[in-house]
Amino acid sequence: MSEHHITPLRTYLIIAASLLFLSGVTVWVSYIDLGSFNIVLAMFVATVKASLVAFFFMHLLWDDKKNLIMFLMSLMFFGIFVTITMLDTAFRGDLGLNPETKDPINKRAAFYDTLPLTDTHGHPVDEHSGKHDEDKDHH
């Protein structure tokens, strides 16, 4: 805290180059199909980049360590949020016992096909004409 840290220009340039390189990596890995791990990998690369910015460009590395703790806390809370939310989205539907309702969060799931089409007020809509459908029994 006492004296101001002066970073050599070289460091800045190296960091800038790494950031550009990592952007390339993000694009590259998006072409590889890793299933749900694509998002994990993309977030990981993004986190590394954000950390480089915080540590070098924003001088966190040379700052009072309390600021580092605050920064790590924010990462931790973000991690908690994403992980626990995934406990929901990854396990949606009767603990996976019933194949009919498993993974309703998945767009391709059968769940969506069985729902009647409705307008924004919840009134049934005919799939073909788009008009309101008075007799909804035949669905």
């Binding site: 809370f77 406990l87 929901d88 396990f91 949606r92 539907g93 603990l95």
Partner: protein, 540 residues
Amino acid sequence: MSENMKQNYLNHPKGIMSWLLTLDHKRIGLMYLVSGILFFFLGGLLALVMRFELAAPGNDIISNEIYNNAYTLHGAIMIFLFIIPAIPGALGNILLPLMVGAKDVAFPRLNLASFYIYSFGALFALYTIINGGVDTGWTFYTPYSTQSSSNVVPMTLGIFIIGFSSILTGLNFIATVHKMRIPGLTWYKLPLFVWALYGTSLVQITATPVLAITMVLLMLERFLGIGIFDPALGGDPVLYQHFFWFYSHPAVYIMILPAFGIISEIIPVHSRKKIWGYKFIAYSTLSIAFIGFLVWGHHMFTSGQSVFSQIVFSFITYFVGIPTGVKIFSWILTMYKGQVSFTPPMFYALAFLFLFTIGGLTGIFLGAVALDIHLHDTYFVVAHFHYVMQGGTIVAFLGGLHHWWPKSFGVMYNQTIANIAALGVFIGFNGTFFPQFLLGLRGMPRRYATYDEQFVELHSYSTFWSGILGISIFIAVMNLFWSFIKRNKVDPGSNPWGGMTLEWTHTSSPPHPHNFEEEPVLQHGPYDYDKVIVQKTYKK
């Protein structure tokens, strides 16, 4: 009395501009107090309208549509415009620098900016009211909130803006606790109210950004249909609830932690006894703040989240009870063998102990998935959160106001009237909300303007007592303001309850514009009633 002692932050400097541009934490605190109480009354008025509608089944006074607006505005105003900003903003601002022996908070200009950001956000809320209200409930659940034609956008924008004020205040308080303490005032010598504000501030800076993101996503969904919450576009409406409650469960600790802090000050002072388990109380504050981030899914037991998350969230929810119980028992043990005096602040603290315990325990009931499936969205939940938010936070806030009123404003209220009003609040509160537990158990759903014939008796009890509650709160607050208008002054050097923290021992009442005439020297800990004798001094 020296000339210097006659000068205080209320009368020096003078003029309206000296208030509007003030950097003095005490003046900013007072401005928060006044605006907070105005919103409290506005929200309270809406509550009474709803209660009178519910006195009998059928739409007797207002239509269903107006009722929907009334409960939404009531909840949003009470939470986002009163409890969350105004309690740290008012009591926290006035007391924190005094308690750590500082001249002001770490960033006085930022502090004023927080107040103006809050006011700016509040304008949007007022606009919402004038422009016909909003009917989604204070939780703004999708998909309804992306479709409702009411003022969802102005209201959420207002909440978004107020969130920044909350973040900046939190930041300011954290910096103040770290950097502005006088030498010798180590962490374990800090008053527990300071610990509570510190814990609150940590939650404010870590949780509130998520609220801001949630509100932005909601607006993007409305305007651009980005499809993050809309299943037709591959989104997930339950994701909205994850976002919302990731903020809003920690936010209930933004609401209750300052109240815990107030109670930790009132009880030792009015029992003249050293606080029991100082470190336990201090650390339980931090652990509540942390566990509070892990339990949000208990609001979503019926929303279709995975059974696996239900189990995890239910399990973790029970853990909140441990640090909370630690606090309750520490307060009770503090009173044990103390010299309890039944002053108005102490009455409120005792009321708090009863009411908050009921609120917290029913929270544990609701944390049990199997039970919550039945009780969710019934009056049982309504009763639970009023026991914690009104019976807990607002009762503690009233207690804190009565405790620090002579300190902050140099005037003393009529203590008999204050005690009677406190009793009225306690009885009126239980009369209003206890029947609601029974209503909920019998299946009365929340957020309806009408109901089945079978609920009429309990509902009309609730309405009757809500009138008593409203009148009692009104009397309590007016009694305070009356002392100010009548200028029922206390001696600037007085210490009416015999407090040991710096604001009682080293400042005048009301405090000097710069708080302390010289930097205070710490002579004893905040609750050393076993070591030092402090006289209660109270002269007119």
